[in-house]
Every structure is written in C-alpha cells, then in structure tokens.
Symmetry: C2
Subunit: 570 residues, 2 copies
C-alpha cells in the first residue's frame, strides 16, 4: 500500500467515526487549544442536563440502585454517559468506536426486562461500561491503532463482553490506544493522540490512555483497560482515577486482539479504571460471579473470596497494618510531587494507626529489564507483521511537534528501543532468570516479618506509579515503577491521593548526584509549571491473585487519605 | 571429559548409592531375571517383619492414625517403608538417592515432639514420602540422570520439601527418571533402567518411572512425580497406582531442577502417585493447607476448596453424573486390554446410576503436536547444554539389547525426534495457536450441555492413559493420550481398574484399516503374552484447577469399579 493509500484509509475511518457522533452532541465552542485543564468543561458546556450531570457524577452504588428502582432508566443513564463521553472525546480524543444507537437499544431492552420481570439482569444492570479498543465486540472493529486492521469487524465477542453483558452492562464506546499497545502514551496513525484532561499539553499515559482520559472526565463509570507494563495504572495515575492491575488470568482476556499474541510468559491482563474503589470492587466481583474460567481457558478458577476481602491474611478487617513505602527505585528518583504524594500517604496511614516502614528496592532495574527482554524477544517481528499489510511505519516517538513520528531524531528520547529477536532457547534463559528473581523477591518480602512488628510480612507496598506525574507528550520514557509489578505478577492498585501539582509545595529540587543519565534527564524535566494541575497518585501493591485483599487494603489507604485531606481543608 | 572419565563418574556414584543401603537389607537370593512379576516378592522374601508388612500395606488413614496414637512410631513406619523401598530397588532399580539414616533421625525427632507435646506436627506426621530425583533436598544430589550433574548437592530445599516437612512428612528416598525427563520410560546413564514390577520386561513408564515402580511395590505410601506430557500418569497407569496430574501451579514446583527451565508456556507440574485416592486427596489437601503460594511465586493462590470437593459444580455429592468416554483418539487405537478397561468402567458407572456418552476426540493430534512443538522450540539446545560438561551423549532410544543407547539405528522407534530450535517470534505463533485450540476445546466441552441430560456439560472425560498397557522397554513411543491434557491444562487422574491383561479376554484383535503407520505399528505390537500381567488403568479428566472436583469424581468412579469387581468375584 502506498502512503497515500493508507492515509486515505485513515481519512475514511475518521469520517465514519465522526458520523457515529449524534449531530446534536457536536460542540461548536470548544475551549481553545491553550485551555489546558478541561476537566470542568463537560459540566459547564451546557450540553448536559442537570439530571445528566447528576447521573454521571453519582457514586456507583446509588447509580445502580436508581436504575434498579427505575428511578433512572438504563436509557437515561446510557444517554448521559454516552453524551458525556462524546464531549470528552471532542476535548481529548479518547474514543475509537462509538455506537450509541446500539447501546440505547440494549439499554431499552434492559429497561423492558426490569419492567416485565421486576428483576435486574445482574449486578451491573443498565451500567454503561467503556472498553479499550482491543476488546472485541462482534460487528465492530478493533483496529488497535493499526491502519492495517481497519475494515475488519470482529467475528465474535471477547469473553469479557459476554460476561459483562450477562451481568447487565451496556457497552457504548471503545477507547484509544497507542499503536502496538507497547507504549505508555496514547497516539496512533488512525485516531491520533489522547491528551490529559487536567492539562492537555501532558500525556494521558498509555496504553489505556483513552480510558484514563474518558473516566477522568466522567464519561464512563467503569472503563476496562489492559496492563502488561503499567497500561492500566499509568493512565489511571496520570488522569487521577483508580486503576487495578489484577494478576494474570483473573479477568478473562480471551477474544481480545493484542500485540505479541502467543507471548504468554508475562501476559497482559485486563483491569478496571474507575472513579471509586467501590466501582473497582464491583467490577471485580461481578466478573468473578460469572465464573469466567468456564468460558476462557486461561482465566483463573478463583471465585471472589470474601474472606480475603475481610483481610484474613492480614489480621482481619480492623487490624493495624504495616506498609512498606518505596520512595525510590534507585534507578530514577521520583519528582517532588510524587514524593509529596508518598509523604502525605505516610502521614495519613500513621494518623489512622497503621505503621509504615521504608521499602528498599530489590533488584528493581534487573526485574524491569528482564521483563522488557521477554517482550523484546519477538516484538520487532510482531510489529513488522502487524504493519506490513498497510505499509504504515512503526511509530518511534510520541513527541509533540515532530512532523513524522515514525522517524524520531536520534537525540529524542524514545520509550521502545527495538531490537531483533532471539532464539526460543535464549528466551527460556531470560524467563528462567525472571522466575528466579520472582522467587528472590518473594523471599525478600517474606523476610520483612522480622521488622514489621505485626507478626506478618509487610501487608502491602506503597509505590510511586512513575517517576513523574503526567509528563508532556513524548516524555514518558520509563515505566519502571509499574513494570516491576507485572514482572512479579503482583496485584497493583492505583489510588489518586486527591492532591495535584502545587507550584508552592512542589518546587524543583536541586540534586548534584544522579544514579545515571536517565535519572539526570528526568530530573531536569521537572518544574511545577510544566506539570501544572497534574494529579498525584500512588500504587498499593499486594501479592499474586490477592485482588480481594489489595482492594480492601486500598480502601484503608483511600479512607486515610480522604480523612487527612478533609481535615487539612477545614 | 573423555568417555572413560564420565563412565568413572558413574561408577563412583553407583558405589555411593550401594553404600547407602544398610547391609542387612541386601537380598542375596533375588528372583532370577526370568521371574517377570515381582510384586509379591517384598512380602515373601522374609526381610520384612509381619508388622512391617502390616505397616506398608495399611490404608493411609489408619497408618496416620496409628502414628498419631503412638501405636506405631514414626521410626518404625519409616524403617518399614525404607526397607521395602530398598527391596523394591533391588528388584526394579527404582531409587537414586537413599538416605535412611537422615530419615530415621527426622522420624525420631517427630516421635519426640509427639511424645513431648501430645500433638502431631501436621496432617502428614511421620509419613514417609518418596520424591522424584529432580526435587531438591538440601545436601543431596539431584542428578536427574545427567552424568554432568553428579557431585553437585542441592544448596537448599525445594519449596515442596519445606511444605511436606512442615506438614510432618519424612523424606527417605529419591527415585529414578529418564535422562532429560522428556521420555515416557525410565533409563539414564547414571542409574540405569527402572523396570515394571508386574512384568520386568515391560517399562515402568516415565518420566516418574521410579515412583511408579516403588509405589506399586508399596515401598512408599505417597510418591511425588512430575508431569509435562504424562510423566506422573504414565508410570501410574503402567504400574497400577493412582496418579494425579494437577493443573499448572497447584503444587509448588520452585526449587526443583528440571529440563528446559524457563519454558513456562506449558510447564511441568508436580503430582502424587499413591495406592489409594484417599492418599491422593490427603497429599493435595495437606499441601494446600501450607499455603504454598506464600513460598513459591508460581504456585496458584487457591486454597483447598471443600465446596468443589462436594461437587457444587456437578449437582452436589449425590448427583447423577454424566461421563464422556473417549474410546480412541483417531490417531492410534488402544489395544484390547485398554478398551476392556474402558468398557468395564462404563458398565460400572451405568450400574452405579450415572450416564455415559461417547466423547468424540476434538483436534486431538493437533493439540498434542502443538504441545510437542513448544518443547521442541529449544529442547535440543537445552539437552546439549546439560550434557556438554561430561560429554555423555543424549540418549536416543530406550530399547533393550541395544548396546549403545545413544545412537539408535534409524529403523528403531524413538520417542523424541530432536529438531533444531526456532525463533521466539515463531514460538509465540505456536503458543498462540495452542491458546486458540484450548479455547476451541473448552467451547466443545461446554457444548455438551445439550446432550448430557443433566443440565450440565459432561462432568468428566474418561480416557485411556496410553494406547497400550505397559509396553516392552523401548516401545513407549507415543504419549498422545496424556499429553493432550497437559496441552489443555486439564486436571487428570489415573485410576487402576483393578484389572490386568487377561490372555483369554484380551486376545489380539484383527484390523485391516489403520489411521496411519504409527497406528499400524502399535497395533502389530499387541499380543497378550508380551503384555502379561500388566495392570489396566483409566484416566478421569476434569477442568483446569479443578483438582477437588476431579478427586471427588474419581472416588465415584473408583467406588463403582470396586463395586462391580467385587460382585464379579462373588
């Protein structure tokens, strides 16, 4: 395909997308480009009715209760979120597939069932849920940002789609991703760039950047992303939402398209991005209730474990917990706002009666690098095969202002150095090394039993989500604070601290010693103006397949943070 | 290393092994080579006291109860099993490491604890457990049949060793394996060949062939093997014991040595070989109780689920079940005794009130071949690296009477065709194809809901364990009836039917149509004399991580078989 041919394909796809937006939802007076923070716009633009604002800002519990009691119809709720999603899209380019008509038909059907039977279909009855582009919905495309994949509607639903629909959900939009998915920002040739609603000069993160931006603008009550190195958590952190990276196989992945399919040593996982932990829990519990392991051969046979949610492994629901805070991975030191987020979290946890110790990083860089080496074993060939049909180039930088993203100047930082693949035997040696590191890390964690004072090892690790809050486009060059937990397959939950970058509190620090050039370059990137309004988030990290426990511990952290924040506001 | 150098290493290792056998346990009047069936020998040889015979033939429940009540001391029990194991070894060459002194010290320590505290250490208090050679015990060697690995004692325990000892077990012997582990028979340069106690001209199977032979001779109440393509189930089936292949990660594997380490797409699993289902259940439950996932990062966080054991997913403990019997994989038709075993099982299940339908194989050959292709991606290089230090050749046939097992004549059947490795990207394509086949198979199974009459899909599949009962040495060339369940990661349990080859009932059948040359060659192998006395076993197959359910369903099948067998004897 010539360059003009594949660019024509893109143009056609974009026209189709534009045509899918109801005309009356098109905003004429969009904020100008130099309006950076657009978080308030959906509610001030006049397109949403007061009731629609009420619906889209409701907590998940009352929202579902109001649908179940027919106070709000599923059609009304779907309309409200779809409209708000379309507004969000016009602000930050977060959507790919938009299918409002289909969603409204489904919502009307659910309303009808409720009216006729008096019963909800399931725990998500009438709830709109947005999906990352790669999650197949029969009849819709999953281009995943590849021009080559345009025009190939999915033949069947991903298992998760069936599971969510069986639980009563309404699907209405899919969301934007970076080409290949293997980049912690969101830009591709087909749909363009998703920007951060808190500051549009900053990245929304990636690869589930469309979800991060959409959920932050409350255009979706629950968004589903995927995470192989931080792809749920980075957008969640950068956009100020909650985001859970569950363990391998906890959420069914079958039937999604993906990069590097067949790479099953360090698999990507699906996980929710939401505006509350209640919604995270609801999603996880609702999926488990549908026994996804009976539908997806790779889904873990692990029902929702209420005992684990009640923290049986952590002294019970009211026990004093001990947290280990990792301030720094000894690779790249976090920027001042990130460190302030950790400090505030520590303060809040101590105030709530918990104890906090320092978590010294253990072979952090080695674990991250070995995880990346697994991807690198066959990634280049995978990208080549995926882009070959159209001839579109593999994107090599996401910097703003670079005319051609496919041929980044050498001096520009890139996230994904492509190297040629290795033999299966050599890959096995890498995977063996990683297995050994997982064992070492587990032993290291277990050994904290001697210093916590609780009789248990550290109950959860508190970690930065990245060395920075949302950086400018093209500058998210390091995912070490998230990838490590994928490499270890630990459950990791992003919690927004409720804080954002403060020009007074978060002044640039001065350092004259650096771990390495990367540390130095990232240090130099910081000043509070560049990162204006960016949310500050933390990660709560628990063990493999410990989603119930991590959500419960997350609730403890979240409550502590909210408590100190409300006190400091008084 | 020259050939004489590595042969000297073997000689030294064999001397050490011989020296580890208490002199008074050396049998002077061993049965001559042409005594094929030696199952009765341990009890007739005069070395075991009546009490030792009582101990080594006791059911697992009373055995443990007698230790707990101090009726039998752990020292007595350990002595009895160790002595019987050493007798077994002299008959069928089933042991590698023998450490009776160490075991007796441990047993005495357990007796002391029980005496002092009045309490057992755990559910396995005082129970001797034998381990496949690859399971590391600190200070002992795990040569795994490689000359190159002689003289390298393990630096630490495998996690399972710690788990079993925490539960009160006594370890006393390790058992023989084939070089590389990737062969369903048991022969290596270091320890030689393990033969089948029911007929020493037949193979004990492999790769856990030492365990199969030892447990069959009741030299161990619970043996632990490993299974990547049938390596627990083939020896169990050929030697007439129970054997469970749990799902990936159910039993902690960390700290074992292995072939092809780092190949984590289709991993080997550990599982028990025992003389009763009660012992299988006890092992699985005891391991789960120790929360192995807190010690092994790859162990599944799945506590023993009593509800699943009570068959909640199968209509409850007393429901009528529906079984699907796979008579033939459309690749190699089973020999007459194997088919009779399935027929008797069907009869027994129908008599017990259950229903039975035919299970038509689905892409059986494709699933097995794709599983083998994953191993082949890097196996040759792995074997080369493991044998390089000594220069010992990679074994390429296990035929009896072949002088040099390393250079099999081309016309001789071999199990393991070695091919050069492939790139990681190509391996991913194979793994992707396998993932798709797993999905297809699951859908295929789920669709049986329409034909079972129970409202559920088939509750379990009944399958042959191999196309033959234990074949002569060198002739176990196909593991298709076991490898398929590894490829699908299904829980698979071998149950001895209580029957063995009968020259009257199991006459050679005549066929003139064959699926392929392999089918024809294996058909031609059969006559009842060759397979004299070989036990007949079946497999019960359930879903991934459904160990509790499969054990419970196995109990149903076992009881039904015992019931019809006892009736037919009356």
């Amino acid at each position: 395909m010539t360059s003009s041919e594949w660019k024509n394909l893109i143009a056609r796809k974009k026209q189709e997308q534009a045509a899918a937006i109801p005309k009356e939802w098109i905003i004429k007076d969009l904020p100008p480009k130099d309006t950076l923070n657009v978080v308030g716009f959906p509610e001030s633009c006049g397109l949403l009715t007061p009731k629609e604002i009420q619906i889209t800002t409701a907590e998940i519990g009352p929202l579902l209760a109001n649908i179940a009691s027919t106070t709000w119809s599923a059609v009304e709720v779907t309309t409200a979120f779809a409209k708000r999603a379309v507004i969000a899209h016009q602000l930050v380019t977060c959507l790919t597939e938009i299918f409002v008509d289909r969603a409204l038909k489904r919502a009307a059907h659910l309303d009808e069932i409720l009216k006729t039977t008096g019963k909800v279909v399931g725990p998500l009855h009438g709830l709109p849920i947005s999906l990352k582009d790669q999650i197949n919905i029969q009849g819709l495309e999953s281009t995943m940002g590849y021009v080559s994949w345009i025009g190939k509607p999915a033949q069947s639903n991903a298992v998760l789609v069936d599971v969510l629909e069986a639980a009563g959900a309404v699907l209405y939009v899919k969301t934007n991703v970076p080409q290949t998915l293997m980049w912690p920002e969101t830009y591709n040739h087909v749909f363009g760039r998703t920007t951060n609603p808190y500051n549009r000069t900053l990245t929304s993160g990636g690869s589930s950047g469309g979800e991060g931006a959409l959920v932050a603008l409350r255009g979706s009550p629950i968004g589903v992303g995927s995470d192989i190195g931080g792809s749920v958590r980075i957008p969640a952190a950068f956009c100020g939402t909650y985001g859970l990276r569950p363990s391998y196989g906890r959420i069914p992945y079958a039937g999604c398209v993906n990069s590097m399919e067949g790479q099953d040593s360090l698999p990507s996982v699906l996980g929710p991005l939401c505006n509350s932990l209640e919604a995270v829990k609801l999603f996880m519990k609702s999926v488990a209730t549908q026994k996804p392991w009976t539908l997806d051969p790779l889904a873990a046979r692990k029902p929702w474990n209420e005992e684990e949610y009640l923290l049986v492994d952590h002294g019970g629901p009211n026990a004093k917990l001990c947290f280990g805070i990792m301030w720094d991975d000894d690779w790249v030191r976090p920027h001042p706002p990130v460190l302030r987020g950790l400090q505030e979290t520590k303060k809040a946890l101590l105030a709530a009666g918990h104890s906090v110790i320092d978590w010294k990083p253990y072979k952090h860089k080695e674990i991250v690098q070995i995880s990346n080496a697994i991807f690198a074993a066959g990634a280049a060939e995978d990208y080549r095969v995926s882009t070959a049909p159209s001839g579109e180039p593999v994107i090599s930088t996401m910097l703003i202002g670079v005319e051609d993203h496919d041929y980044a100047p050498k001096h520009i930082p890139g996230f994904r150095p492509l190297s040629e693949g290795v033999s299966s035997y050599d890959l096995w040696q890498v995977q063996k090394k990683r297995r050994d590191l997982r064992q070492e890390y587990l032993n290291y964690w277990n050994a904290t039993v001697n210093i916590t004072g609780t009789g248990r090892p550290v109950d959860a690790i508190i970690s930065p989500c990245a060395p920075y809050v949302a950086p400018p486009h093209g500058f998210n060059t390091l995912a070490s604070y998230t990838t490590i937990w994928n490499g270890l397959d630990y459950t990791a939950l992003v919690i927004p601290t409720g804080l954002s970058v403060d020009p007074v509190l978060d002044t640039a620090s001065s350092r004259d010693q650096f771990y390495n050039d990367e540390d130095k370059a990232i240090h130099a990137l910081y000043n509070p103006q560049t990162f204006q309004d960016a949310p500050i988030s933390i990660q709560v990290v628990g063990r493999t397949l410990e989603e119930e426990g991590v959500i419960a511990i997350g609730e403890v952290v979240d409550a502590a943070l909210k408590n100190t924040l409300s006190k400091s506001k008084i």
